[in-house]
Subunit: 194 residues, 2 copies
DNA sequence: CATCTCAGTTGACCTAGGTCATTTTTCAAA
DNA sequence: TTTGAAAAATGACCTAGGTCAACTGAGATG
C-alpha cells in the first residue's frame, strides 16, 4: 500500500470518483517528509497548502502575546490540517504547524486546489464535507471550553483521541485543553486518566 | 427590494449564477417569521434547516449541566445559522436557536439542499466558502478563548460586531464572551466600552 | 398610577487555575 | 554508560473570575 491509498479511501468514504478523477487529484499533490519537531509553517507566513497527514502527527499552535504556546489542533494520520484563516484569505496567518514525530504528508496548494475544483467540481463536495466536519468539531470545542472544567475537557480529549495521546507530552495535552503544565500535573495526580 | 435580494447578493458575492439557477435556489426556500424570544430550535431536536437571516437577529446557545446558558453564535441579518453538528449528522443536537428580535428568515432544509446541490453543483462552492469562513471564525474564537482575558475578548467582540451590540443585553454579551453577568458588570465599571 | 419583572450593580467571600522557582525524573544522544 | 536537556512534580503564593444574596432601577403590563 503506497502513500496515496489512505487519502484515496478518505475521499471514497465521502464521494464517488472515477480512477481518472482520482489520478488527477493525486497528480496535483506534492509529497513531503518532515522530521520530529520540524516546522511546516511559521507564524505570519501565508498558509499556501492543505496538508494531508499520511503517517505521523502534526500540531497547529499559536504563541500569544505573553509568549505562551497554545495548541489549536492535533492532526494524526488520515487528517487534513492547515491554518484555515490564512489559507482561505491568502493573508499571513498566526499559526505554526509542527511535526510531532517523523511525518509523511501530501500537500495541496491553493492554486492546485482551484485547478482541481475547476476541472472536477465533484471535489467541491469533498471539501465542503471536510470543512463542515471540521467546523462542527471546532464549535463543539468552544462549547466544551465554555461549559466544562479542565478535568472534564481532559477526559473528553482522552476519550476522543486515545491513539494520539501516547505521542503527546503532558505539556502538549495541557496546552490543548487550555491549562498550564503545572496545573495539569496537579490535576491528574492520583487519578488514572491514561 | 424583497426578502430574497439580500440572499441573492450574498450568493453573487461568492459565485456566479444565472437567473434560472438563482430562481431554483429561491424556489426551494421556505420563508418564516419569528417574534422576539421565539424558539426556532430546541435542544435535542434535529436541526433540519440552514437558516438565512433576512432581518432581525438570532442566537444559538446551549444549556450546560449546571443549567447555565452559553451563547455560541449570534447571527444578524445576512448570515446563515444552524446547529451545524446536528445538521451535518442528522442526529439530535444540543443547541437552542432563538430570535433576539422580530426576525424574518429563509430556511433551506437538508433535503432541499441536497436537491439543490445535485441539480446545480455550482452551489457546492457557495456552501464550501460559507463553511470555510465559519470554520475560520470558529477557530479564531478558540484562539481568543485560550489567549485573551475576558476584557480583551469583550473589546474584540465590540469591535467585530458593533451593529449587533445594541440589540443585546449585557447578560447576553457576558454569555458570549464567557463570563458571568456579575463579573461582566464589574469588569466594565468605569470603562467606556460601548 | 401601581406593580411586577427582569437587567444591572454591588458587597463579601470563594475557588479553579496561574505563577515562579526548585527539585526530581525520564530519555535520547554520545 | 554517562550525561545533559527537557518533561514532570511540587511547594508557596497569587489572581481572574465565580457565587450568592441583597439592592437598585427601568421598562412593560394591569
Amino acid at each position: 500500500m503506497d502513500n496515496y491509498n489512505l487519502l484515496q479511501e478518505n475521499i471514497r468514504k465521502r464521494i464517488e470518483v472515477t480512477e481518472d478523477e482520482m489520478s488527477y487529484f493525486i497528480f496535483l499533490l506534492q509529497q513531503k517528509k518532515y522530521s520530529r519537531k520540524e516546522l511546516i509553517l511559521r507564524e505570519s507566513e501565508i498558509s499556501h497548502n492543505f496538508t494531508f497527514i499520511v503517517s505521523g502527527c502534526v500540531k497547529s499552535y499559536l504563541i500569544d502575546n505573553k509568549g505562551e504556546e497554545h495548541i489549536l489542533t492535533i492532526a494524526p494520520s488520515d487528517w487534513w490540517i492547515t491554518d484555515i484563516n490564512s489559507f482561505v484569505s491568502g493573508t499571513p496567518g498566526n499559526l505554526f504547524l509542527e511535526a510531532l514525530e517523523p511525518t509523511t504528508a501530501l500537500l495541496l496548494s491553493r492554486e492546485k486546489q482551484e485547478l482541481l475544483l475547476a476541472k472536477i467540481p465533484k471535489f467541491e463536495k469533498y471539501f465542503r464535507i471536510l470543512t463542515e466536519k471540521a467546523f462542527a468539531v471546532s464549535q463543539q470545542r468552544i462549547i466544551d471550553y465554555m461549559s466544562l472544567t479542565a478535568l472534564e475537557r481532559l477526559e473528553k480529549f482522552v476519550a476522543s483521541y486515545p491513539s494520539v495521546i501516547s505521542s503527546l507530552t503532558q505539556q502538549q495535552i495541557a496546552s490543548y485543553i487550555g491549562v498550564t503544565p503545572s496545573f495539569f500535573s496537579r490535576m491528574i495526580k492520583g487519578k488514572k486518566i491514561f
